[in-house]
């Protein structure tokens, strides 16, 4: 048995998809599971997840502000963890569970507790960074239900807010943590 270079299954699967037989050239069949809904898409390899979410799926809640992974506005969750969708190729998300801001509210459109608390405590101003912030907060509170203020600041340090709404963003996050622990419902 050959030791040495192991074959990476993901890379192989990707390669297979790249060379698969399609009617259009230059696209890769990709399955994206976004907010619980499964999409089968033919995606150009150079398109980012942000491109596909915004222009293919018309989920424009996710924003692109810098397109270089420097500001956090494009943050979505992949398998529950925050990623920068402007720096993630869509084809690399094949079969992955993606959550965007549009999925935060309940099925009947009722706001998530996090969203309600942000509105009530003015954790936003122009709102452009807000979807990225809220997805980061969701991931934080899902993984760490009782964050300290320092932990909140650290988690949000990759989300730039030019309006500088940070004090209320931090406050809203801490209030949301308390509310969720106190047994608040999703919506």
């Amino acid at each position: 048995m050959a030791e040495g270079r192991k074959k990476l299954p993901e890379k192989d699967a990707l390669k297979a998809r790249l060379y698969a037989n399609h009617t259009e050239t230059n696209t890769v069949l990709t399955t994206l599971i976004v907010n619980g809904k499964t999409y089968q898409l033919k995606v150009e390899p150079n398109k980012t997840l942000a491109d596909i979410l915004r222009w293919e799926l018309h989920l424009t809640g996710t924003k692109v502000a810098c397109d270089r992974g420097e500001c956090g506005a494009c943050t979505v969750l992949m398998e529950g963890m925050p990623i920068l969708s402007c720096m993630t190729l869509a084809i690399a998300c094949d079969g992955k569970r993606i959550e965007t801001i549009e999925g935060l509210a309940g099925p009947s459109g009722e706001m998530h507790l996090i969203q309600r608390i942000f509105v009530d405590n003015d954790g936003l101003q122009c709102g452009f960074c807000t979807p990225g912030v809220l997805m980061t907060v969701k991931a934080l509170l899902d993984n760490n239900p009782s964050p300290s203020e320092a932990e909140v600041r650290k988690a949000l340090s990759g989300n730039i807010c030019r309006c500088s709404a940070y004090p209320n963003i931090i406050k809203s996050t801490l209030l949301a943590a308390e509310a969720i622990k106190a047994g608040g419902q999703n919506g």
Binding site: G61, D67, E70, E102, F118, V119, D122
Partner: protein
């Protein structure tokens, strides 16, 4: 004015909060217009050059390219320099400077051409195929160099100076002779960028051959229309602009007036040529490279006595306009943002060109640059005399204007409270008197302030419709850039009518349906448009009551409105009432030919006559810690103590204070645009290297205010958008001095400057 408010003064969450936190509203960059093309800009890669030739043949031939334009394909319209019309008096000296696309480039990043294509990849490929032959010219990045008569470069035919004036008051020479001390220093700061999270963006198309419609991320879309009509040679009513949800322009999304919004006419011209809608969005690099706040270059010489009286002041205020002076308003000692009296002054105000990004408005405009200089100077004077800088400020702070008319609204209590909140008396120490690696310091800076344009100086208007159902629609041309104007204006309308907030819906954003508004800038909306809203509501209510009085055969004073039941009734006899629907019939006329009651009462409002009173003062207190080994400055606590008028919405007011404080902190400690001296290229045109504050960059931050109602502002309000950002930089600078005993007069105060000041490098 002890009036009990029902809606005004309440911390009502912003009405657009839900659509923003759910991602369900479309910002300009989210909008897709069917069939839209994607545009890209070709920018100059030289700092100063004539375009000898430009050949777009190959670019045009690329499949998927639908339109290409250069200076040959745009109108010869030129934007006037300075802020033409700003302060009125400048128009004689202002020159036509900027074309949409020109045959000359004046900074690295200036516009050369534009293409529209089926997608961005094709557009970017086409840019590479445009052949430009530059005749490079000598260039300069230094304002002092530009000013010299023998400067080796000449940016405009009339030279490098856009404006120059010398002003004198009293006798400065005599004043200097009387002084016990003289201090002379330059106060400076780099170019900084507004860096809105959503870049500038526009989608334009022609629904009819002579009508253009566009979406644009803009603070003043109604004014954009005027200028687009001018540039394109269309009647004003043929231009329709739409901007409802957009990400803060903090001045940089203000208008063409000031000649820096060329992407809108470019998109419109491309759309005309291509016969399809055209979308143009600045890349982040372009967003950072195209504009800035003018750098701070203020030379001050002050003479003062042992008791702190300032006997003379000599100032040179240089505005390095960059490549174009559009939007610069020269400012100096004749601007009353300074809270003190200078009896004998001599000053020069100069606006000069350099081959760098030109200025856009940026929150706080010139006062931010001015107050960095003045509040540092005042601090230097206090420290020179061995006085506590807060005591010194309160001692010399203006209680009356120069004609001796007292400022009735100067409220010192807020400043004292701010000082208490930061623990000034207990913590302030002699500068540099700490020990250890980490040194703490306290600083304060004060500024006078007021909002733009009250007193019918800006023609904002409002409409209020009382529908036959008794619901109310407020219609304004406001731009809610995140300050919350959509909410505050609805509150004013609701309060004026005596109805709960939920009954008012606020329509804004589309110039086809909204009355004229000069936009959101200059901290003016609550005072100016708010006044018009109140007037419109009053007008609608008056019509309602007068018609009800006719219907009930009584006098207006006898009536009251029950909005809940949608009727108007006689106070003394509740059962005598008439439905609002019926009243609408009385006003508008019944619908004889159609069954049912229809129509609205329409109230019209123009701005209030009274100008909000000038001259209140506010202050920022900063407590910082300097690490003398690394040079880093840590913000421990910032208190922004603001003399507000009536706080229409305390929740949103608090957000304005926080935003201004931290924006100011960014300018003080980390923001600067860095240019390559050999090419004039902006080197840090990205958000990694152009540093703006994050959650890790501040400690506690408190915005506090007293309500000092202004009798002329609607419900006593004063504008607050900008002033919280004016005093943080000098407060931080003064705190640094307090901590280490060495003065830094150049922003941003970065670790290298601290270490140099301490003699460590």
């Amino acid at each position: 004015m002890a009036r009990e408010f029902k809606v005004v003064g309440k911390p009502i969450p912003r009405i657009d909060g839900p659509v923003k936190v759910t991602g369900s509203c479309e910002y300009i960059t989210d909008i897709e217009v069917e069939g839209m093309l994607h545009a890209e800009l070709l920018i100059s890669t030289v700092a100063h050059a004539n375009i000898k030739s430009i050949d777009t043949t190959k670019a045009k031939a690329l499949p998927g390219i639908r339109a290409v334009i250069t200076h040959k394909e745009v109108p010869d319209y030129r934007f006037i320099g300075l802020s033409e019309g700003w302060l009125g008096t400048l128009s004689e000296t202002a020159h036509p400077e900027m074309r949409i696309l020109d045959d000359k480039v004046r900074y690295y990043g200036d516009l050369v051409a534009a293409v529209a294509a089926d997608n961005l990849e094709i557009a970017n490929e086409a840019l590479k195929l445009i052949e430009v032959e530059y005749e490079e010219l000598p260039f300069g990045l230094d304002a002092d160099e530009s000013m010299k008569p023998d400067a080796p470069y000449k940016i405009f035919p009339w030279g490098n100076i856009a404006y120059f004036v010398e002003l004198n008051k009293g006798n400065a020479d005599k004043g200097f002779k009387e002084a016990d001390y003289i201090l002379e220093n330059r106060y400076s700061g780099r170019r900084v960028n507004q860096c809105s999270m959503e870049p500038h963006a526009v989608i334009a198309w022609w629904p009819e051959p002579d009508k253009v419609t566009y979406y644009a991320s803009s603070q003043m879309i109604h004014v954009d229309n005027l200028y687009l009509a001018d540039v394109l040679g269309l009647p004003r009513q043929n231009v329709r602009g739409i901007c409802k949800f957009f990400s803060m322009g903090t001045g940089n999304k203000c208008s063409p007036f000031w000649g820096y919004w060329r992407h809108i006419p470019i998109a419109a011209i491309l759309a005309k040529k291509a016969g399809k809608p055209v979308r143009l969005e600045f890349t982040r690099e372009e967003e950072l490279a195209f504009g800035c706040r003018w750098p701070i270059i203020v030379d001050l010489k002050a003479g003062f006595k042992n008791d702190g009286t300032i006997t003379a002041l000599d100032g040179t205020f240089t505005a390095d306009a960059g490549a174009y002076s559009t939007s610069v308003a020269p400012m100096g000692l004749n601007q009353p943002y300074v809270a003190y009296h200078f009896p004998n002054t001599r000053e020069k105000q100069i606006v000069v060109y350099t081959n760098q990004a030109r200025g856009w408005f940026f929150r706080g405009y010139a006062p931010v640059r001015l107050m960095w200089a003045f509040e540092t100077l005042i601090d230097e004077i206090a420290n020179k005399l061995g006085m506590d800088p807060l005591d010194y400020r309160l001692k010399v702070q203006l209680a009356s204007d120069e004609n001796g008319v007292p400022y009735p609204h100067r409220n010192r209590d807020t400043l004292i409270q701010g000082a208490d909140a930061i623990g000034w008396k207990g913590k302030w120490h002699k500068p540099g008197s700490g020990y250890g690696v980490k040194r703490r310091g306290l600083g304060v800076a004060m500024s006078s302030h007021w909002a733009q344009g009250g007193g019918r100086q800006l023609p904002d208007q409002a409409l209020v419709r009382i529908q036959n159902t008794g619901n109310v629609v407020l219609i304004t041309g406001t731009a809610d850039l995140g300050q919350g104007s959509a909410t505050v204006l609805a509150q004013i309308c609701a309060e004026e009518l005596g109805i709960p907030m939920e009954r008012v819906s606020h329509e804004y954003g589309d110039t086809a349906y909204t009355p004229f508004c000069t936009g959101s800038w200059g901290s003016k909306t609550t005072v100016v448009l708010g006044g018009a809203v109140a007037n419109a509501a009053r007008d609608a209510k008056r019509q309602l009551l007068e018609a009800a009085a006719r219907a009930l055969d009584t006098a207006v004073e006898e009536l009251d409105i029950d909005w809940e039941k949608s009727l108007v009734y006689i106070k003394a006899a509740h059962e005598k009432s008439v439905s609002i629907a019926k009243v609408v019939d009385v006003v508008v006329g019944p619908s004889v030919w159609l069954f049912g009651t229809m129509g609205d009462i329409i109230g019209v409002g123009y701005p209030s006559e009274k100008r909000a009173v000038a001259g209140d003062i506010s202050a920022t207190f900063a407590e910082i810690e300097v690490d003398t080994e690394t040079g880093e400055v840590k913000l421990l606590n910032m208190i922004n103590a603001f003399n507000a008028g009536k706080a229409i919405n305390p929740l949103l007011l608090e957000s304005q204070l926080a935003g201004g404080t931290l924006m100011g902190a960014g300018m003080a400690l980390m923001e600067e645009m860095v240019y390559d001296p050999s090419t004039g290229k902006l080197l840090n045109a990205n958000m990694l290297n152009y540093k703006i504050p994050t959650t890790l960059d501040f400690g506690t931050q408190v915005g506090m205010w007293n309500e000092n109602p202004d009798p002329a502002g609607v419900f006593g309000a004063k504008g607050v958008g900008e002033w919280p950002g004016v005093t943080p930089p000098p407060a931080i600078g003064n705190a640094v001095y307090n901590a280490i005993g060495v003065r830094i007069r150049d922003l941003p105060i970065t670790p290298d400057k601290i270490l140099k000041a301490l003699g460590r490098v």
